[in-house]
Structures are given as C-alpha cells and as structure tokens.
Symmetry: C2
Subunit: 344 residues, 2 copies
DNA sequence: GCCGCTTGCTAAACCGCTCTAGTTGTCGGG
DNA sequence: CCCGACAACTAGAGCGGTTTAGCAAGCGGC
C-alpha cells in the first residue's frame, strides 16, 4: 500500500476512523485494549500522520520560521548566524519541530514573508533577529498574532517574547579590563548604527568612559564587513594619537583589524590591544589568538528555541528570558600598556 | 473576517467555489470577465491559499529539505555550509520555495528524517550533502521516490540528480602550481577519509605526484576541525625533512596551520607555502592572506537549488550538472622555493 | 425494576482546496 | 427549427485527518 491512512487502519483493526484518531493521539475515548490493538496495526502498516491533513484542521504546523534580511552572500561570513542556527536546530529537533529558513533582501520583503507564511499556516511562530531601532516588524508580528520571540536587548517588545543577553554589562566588563591594564585611549569599531545592540554598546562605552576617566573614546560605525573593519582600523592606527586598544563588534572585523595591524607594522598586543565582541573559532585560530567576549551562541539558539516552543504552547503569556551575560575570554591579543607606547 | 476562503470569495463574486479555484489558478473553465472579477474580489479580501489544504489534495509542499548529519556545534565553524545555504536560499526563494533545515547527529537519524518528512508530505525533494564512500542514503531516497539532488563528485548516483565540481582537476592545478614554483616536498592535510571527495583529492594528489616526479606526498587525514588541522601541521613541520608546501582541505584548517607555523617560527611563505582547498573571508583576512582554491559556493548553492527545482518539475529525468571547476586564487601564502630552504 | 451516569464506540460533519461529472446557455449547421 | 457541439459554470465528492453528537451497553443506587 502506497501510504496507509487512518481509514486503512480502522478497516484492518475493525474499528471506526474516530477510534483510530483517539488511540493514536493518546486521547480518552477508547479502551486500553483497543488502543493497543490500533497502535499495533498502525505500527505494522507503518503509518505516519499526514502533516497537511493535520494542519488543515487547525493543528500545529510543527515548524517555526526564521527570516533573515541581509544580503545572502554575507550570511556565510558571520559565524554567529551559523552557530545560532545550530543551537536553534538542537532546541527544535528535540521536539521534532522543523525550521523554515529564508534569507531576503530587506525588511519589506521580510514582512511580506511573515504575512505569507502566517496566512498559509506554514509555521507556528517566528524568530526575530537583528532588531532595529524603530522596528516595524514587531507591530506586524503582533498583528498577525503568531507567537514570536525576538532576540535582542532588554525591555518589552509589545506582546512578543524575548531572549536577551546583557551586552551593556558585557561592554562595561571589557572597558574595565582594558582600563585596569592601563589603557586610556580606547577605540570602538562598531556595527550598523541602525541596530539596537550597536546603540546599546556605544552608550555603555560612553558611560564607562566617563566613569573611568578615559581620555578618548571613538566609535567608528561599519557595516559589519571585514572590508570596513579593516578600513576603520587603518584610519584609527594612522592617527597621531592612535588608540592603544581597539574593541571590535564582531570577530570577523577583529581578525581583519589584526591583519591591518600586521600590515602596518603595529605589534599586537605590544603596541595595540585587540578585543572582539564575539567569539568563535576565528578568534582562536589566528595569531595572536584574540581576547574575545564569549557568548555561547549555540546555547543562545537553544534558549531561543525553548522560549519559542513555550510561547507557542501557551500563547497568552509572553516570556522574557535573560541569558548568561557574556564573559571575557582573555587570550594573547591584550596586554598591559607598555611604557613606551605612550610616547609612540 | 479572520481568513477568507475561496467559499467567501465565491459568495461575494456570485459564483461557485469551482469557478474561483479555476480563476485563481489560471486554468481554463471561466471567461476572462469572470476571472478578472474573481481576481479583484480575491485581492480585495486579501485572500491567500492555505498551503495545508493545497498539500492535502496532492499539490506540492513548496518546500525542500536539507538534513545535515554533523555535530550541531561544528556547523557554525564551516563557512562552506553557511555560503551554500545562502546560495540555496537565493535559488529557492526566487520561486517562493522554502527550505526545511535540520541538523542531526548521525546518518541513521538523517535517514529517519528523510522517511518522516517524505511520509508527512512536508517537502517536495531533498538535497544530499557530504556524500560518503558507500552511502546508504542514496538507496533510501530512491526508495522514497522523492526528487533529490546530491552534491558531490562525478558519476551517477542511481536515479538521483547530481551537481558536482571537478575537484580532481582542481587538485591537479594546485599541485602543478606548487611544482612550477619549485616545490617537491608537498604535504596534504585532508578531511575525513570516509567522504568521497576526500578520497578523490588524495587520489588526484598521488597521480600528479607520479607524473611530476615529486619526492614525497603525504596525506594526513583529519576530522576537518581546526584542532586536528593544527596538530597535523605541528607533526609535519617537526619532521626532519619537513614539507616546503602544505595543502589543506579546508580554509579553517589552513588558518589553524598558519597559526602553528607562526608559533613554531616557520616563515610563511618563505619557508613553507600554504594553500587552502576552499576559499572564504577567512583566507582573505589573515596575514599573510592565503592562496586558496576559490569555488563560488554561493553560486553552487544556487545551482543545486535550480537543479532540484527542475528535477521536481520533471521527476523522471535525473540531471547531472557540472559546475565551474574551482580556480586557484594566489595570494601571499605561496612563494617560489627559496634556495636556502632545501638545506633546512 | 427503572433511572441516570459513565464508558466505549460509531457516524458524520468539517477544515480549505481541487477536480470531475454534470448542467445550462449559446450558437452554428443542416 | 431542431440538434449537437462547445463554452461557462455549478454541484459535490474527496484529500486525511479531528472532533462533535449520538447511541448502546453496563452498572450502581434507590
């Protein structure tokens, strides 16, 4: 038989379709004996539910959606996404929920996909990443009424759940560490200013500068690409009063910056210390290995998955989950301020 | 209205459900005037097809599946996968086909997912990666009768379509280049020996060694991790007659190897040349930048997507698509054999 | 002995869509 | 003027499940 349906099972077991449905879904309405019989027959016939038929009667789609609005070619570059994806997978596949993934060009297209998938009953919920300063997507997801979790900072996002790490605290810990090493001229190669976390990090940096009495605190915005990271580094290191420490908002940019330092003959960490606000193999395998902020992105993905599944199970109550604050992993790219450095 | 159905449209337009279905799907059976009216009403009511209802009547699921059997944590490491994914996305989303992605632990679990998704009508086809030497998955996919495309080497895979690049030719071009630079002691840090492409590359290496009269050609197998890549490099560079050039099967391992060379005080490219069999930002941003085999993985993904969509459209005829042979991008990590090197 | 309640099951409606068979209306040809 | 062909449309069955209403049997209590 091509594909047994519950009608086939019912016939073979000598019961009605309804009874089979009850038995297979563990609901009351059949005796234990009948249930066992039905389960056995279903097993014999290798029956599997038809997801479309289930979805049609309003059941779950057993899938969640993740739409990323970035140029498709750049996704591959960020270890962050790949790691997050892995974590999501791990969290979802435990409950056999699939991930619908789509990469689109811009936010407008992203919203269109939300609408389409929602109206097509393709997914049970969404994961929202790259939260922007005034993000139009939040309102759309609320309107659609689909359980969603946003990956971002603290604070409520309307009725949506959120998972967030305290990157303000994390940024403070980096600056304090560098300050303790004696650095006072610290620069920051940041990401896209339209992203919320970029704003948050810049603000944290400014605050700690005031508190710790740091001389100069320059934030150079970039588009997260290695090219702009390199360019920003070149500019910073060419200044007469060049910084003695640079914080990069991603490990890709930090590695690019490291390369520029080498190319310009500026010793790392002897003349300039480098810290990456993101950790991955990348930071480990270069030389010198980069001091980096380790946030367990894989675990983060798992947590997002768990939160989304919870929200789907109980949609009325949005959750707000704070993950472990990222911690600084010190490697070889940071060192105390050398005496000679000041005069360079 | 929560969600208009074709019955709602039919009522409003004063026609039958059937007429609406015909009109919306561009099939004959309605006059142009009626079709226009129905389309207008559907537009007004913001109607969207219910994917489950369509799938139930045997239509396409408008989704394809990609299952990757690797430890979830390691996926994030390989730029290759992320790039491939991006390309797949680009190819699929043009036709609004979604990608069902799942990461599992081993091949057994992977096969189980194939069976489940197939029987649940969740996908219209599969993409098979990491082809192994005697791969049990091919038979399963043939048995399931779902259109599939395998990403791998030349040769038929039963009734499945395939997309492949000639990495034999690519490996030959690397060796010839190194040989032309004067290198005769070339080593190879390879990937998992159970993978077909690993086997193919090793064989190509041996063949060209014979042809070009190279002294020694050692292939060291690894698991593709940066750790094993580093370890293999350490071993190779510690030998009394250490190689003057090393070919790495992935850019991650090549970067790790570069780090080891630095740590051991072996100059790159002065004392040892390094080539990566895979290109990504990684190879570009380290110092010295790595000479690498550039295969446009993004384009590869697009091609795989296109081939799969074709195979789904016309299932009887499996396709075999050869992609552009990867070409060597020479950067700073390779140099002619220095005179002094031979005596070291 | 009858009532009412629970248990275990069946029959059938329903979800939103597709598609076949059948009906109606129009038109041309003999 | 009638018949057949064809175009345009309708009615309704069916996809594979879930779920509700209903029914028969069994059983305890008064």
């Amino acid at each position: 038989m091509a594909r047994p349906t519950i009608a086939d099972i019912a016939r073979r077991a000598g019961v009605s379709k309804g009874a089979v449905s009850f038995a297979l879904n563990g609901r009351p309405g059949v005796s234990e004996a009948t249930r066992a019989l039905i389960l056995q027959v279903a097993e014999e016939m290798n029956w599997r539910p038809h997801s479309a038929a289930r979805a049609l009667v309003g059941a779950k789609a057993e899938a969640v959606g993740l739409v990323i609005a970035r140029p498709a070619r750049t996704i591959g570059v960020e270890p962050f996404f790949a790691q997050l994806l892995s974590g999501l997978q791990a969290g979802l596949s435990a409950r056999a929920v699939a991930l619908h993934l789509l990469v689109v060009e811009d936010t407008a297209a992203e919203i269109e996909v939300y609408r389409r998938w929602a109206s097509e009953h393709r997914v049970d919920g969404f994961i929202l990443v790259d939260l922007q300063v005034r993000d139009p997507r939040v309102a759309v997801l609320e309107e659609l009424g689909l359980p969603s979790v946003v990956l971002g900072g603290p604070g409520r996002h309307g009725s949506l759940s959120s998972v967030w790490a305290d990157d303000r605290e994390a940024m403070l810990s980096i600056v304090e560490y560098l300050s303790a090493l004696g650095h006072t001229r610290i620069a920051h190669v940041s990401g896209l200013p339209s992203f919320r976390h970029t704003q948050r990090r810049i603000r944290a940096l400014k605050d700690s500068a005031r508190r710790l009495g740091l001389v100069e605190l320059l934030s150079v915005p970039t588009d997260f690409s290695d090219a702009e990271g390199a360019a920003a580094t070149r500019t910073l290191l060419s200044r007469p009063d060049r910084p003695t420490a640079i914080i990069y908002d991603s490990d890709v940019m930090a590695v690019a910056g490291l390369g520029v330092a080498g190319e310009m003959g500026v010793g790392v960490p002897r003349e300039v210390s480098i810290v990456a606000f993101d950790d991955s193999v990348l930071a480990r395998i270069v030389h010198p290995a980069l001091t980096a902020l380790s946030r367990d992105t894989f675990a983060l993905g798992q947590q997002v998955a768990a939160t989304l599944l919870e929200t789907i199970a109980e949609p009325g109550r949005p959750r707000e989950v704070q993950t472990q604050t990222p911690r600084l992993t010190v490697r070889e790219s940071t060192a105390p301020l050398a005496d000679g450095t000041k005069s360079v």
